[in-house]
Symmetry: C2
Subunit: 249 residues, 2 copies
Amino acid sequence: MNTTPLTELEFLTSYDPKIYSRPSVAVDLVLLTVHERKLKALLVKRGEHPDAGKWSLPGGFVGIDEPLDAAARRILAAKAHLNGQVFLEQLFTFGDPKRDPRARVISVAHLALVNHSRLLRALDASPDTTTLADVEVSWPGESAGPALTSLDGKPISLAFDHKHILGAAVKRIRGKLNYAPIGYQLLPREFTLRALQDVHETILNRPVNKDAFRRRILASDELRATGRLEEEVGHRPAELYRFSSSAAV
Amino acid sequence: MNTTPLTELEFLTSYDPKIYSRPSVAVDLVLLTVHERKLKALLVKRGEHPDAGKWSLPGGFVGIDEPLDAAARRILAAKAHLNGQVFLEQLFTFGDPKRDPRARVISVAHLALVNHSRLLRALDASPDTTTLADVEVSWPGESAGPALTSLDGKPISLAFDHKHILGAAVKRIRGKLNYAPIGYQLLPREFTLRALQDVHETILNRPVNKDAFRRRILASDELRATGRLEEEVGHRPAELYRFSSSAAV
DNA sequence: GTAATAGTGTCTTTAAGACACTATGTA
DNA sequence: TACATAGTGTCTTAAAGACACTATTAC
């Protein structure tokens, strides 16, 4: 058996005759945050056709030697000016040949979560081609579908298949809430249990039982009480907690 | 604003200067089945370097106009001779730049499930470069890691990063068992509750409570009793069930 | 009849939900 | 003081686990 390494070109042409019509690979980013009991996603305004003027998820092509998550973090830094620790995970790969009318572009969608005030500070340094749109999903529980987005109460439509990517992101974060401690990613380092419950209710789009929520969260040993209280709230202040393995933010 | 459509070449060269060094995109397939209380995966023997002679997951490049799931089904037909209805879902996209030493190949891994006897019939028509290897995973519950594979009790190592792809597949199917009716995908059209429980125990690699399992499965309304009994079993025969929405197999 | 597994009934345990009650800050 | 929300204690409910018991077929 011939074990002499082929050159990359030999390999590709022998294995993949369509080497010169390979798909492009991009990363699109669903950056979610929660503010005032609303789920919000970062969008950027498209400057070029197709869909020029429409809002879209931030994205970009993957470098030839760049890991997928590195591309996602590069886009996170470029479009949202977020550099430090940010929750990020791969979501799903969208590969419909017609999803981009110009060419075959396969998009490896990623989900990122960041707390609202940190995001606002970062976006202050951004051009005004970005916005935080409200995200609404009508479907409950385990079902799924596209997400609806609006700005100042007015519905907006997204470029390409981005409403489906956003829908997949909402489904993912709803599912993860049940078994993974991710709510704190959307809050400042110290927060009250009520604030965490608000985040859960916003994401799930339904009320959650206060007693059971407190019992479950505290029993899970994921939070650490600080002993300090919130201030200036006009009523009895709640105790502040931190996430236990404080690699957070 | 110029709204004249660019040609694809103009678009790609302006947007993606590295057009001529784009990654290749492949699909790798984790085809799982269960037989005699063992989880098994379809492997193919590599004929070419690197890793010539090693076992690997079946895979192939994605056509320029081919949807990702279509590529997965094409590979399913080519490597396992499976053509009809087969459970298939996208798993995860593996994009480490060094995962293939020859070139940048991004792999969109897919998970497929099929019942053992149907698979054996299909594989009868296959060359002997395929095998069904035993899959073992040591990590329990929600944790994860690479999978171990063995043939006739002897450990085998897989090509590329395929042990990690296989590990992700086992994690996925374990998670899905908790909320989705997928066990029946691994059984013939009619099966006993005990057989379904065996499948669950094999995948989860732990015993499951018989009473609770029966109650939960029957309450979920996913199964339909046939009224008929299994035969020739040497003891009291169990009733045969079918999956309710019998799009199955 | 015995062996072996199928299938049922019921008690215990665990976690969620309901709800009333007390606690403690601001105004 | 009133008010609003924080936080606790306990009862109810739902589902899982434990376990004993009956049922039915092969032999």
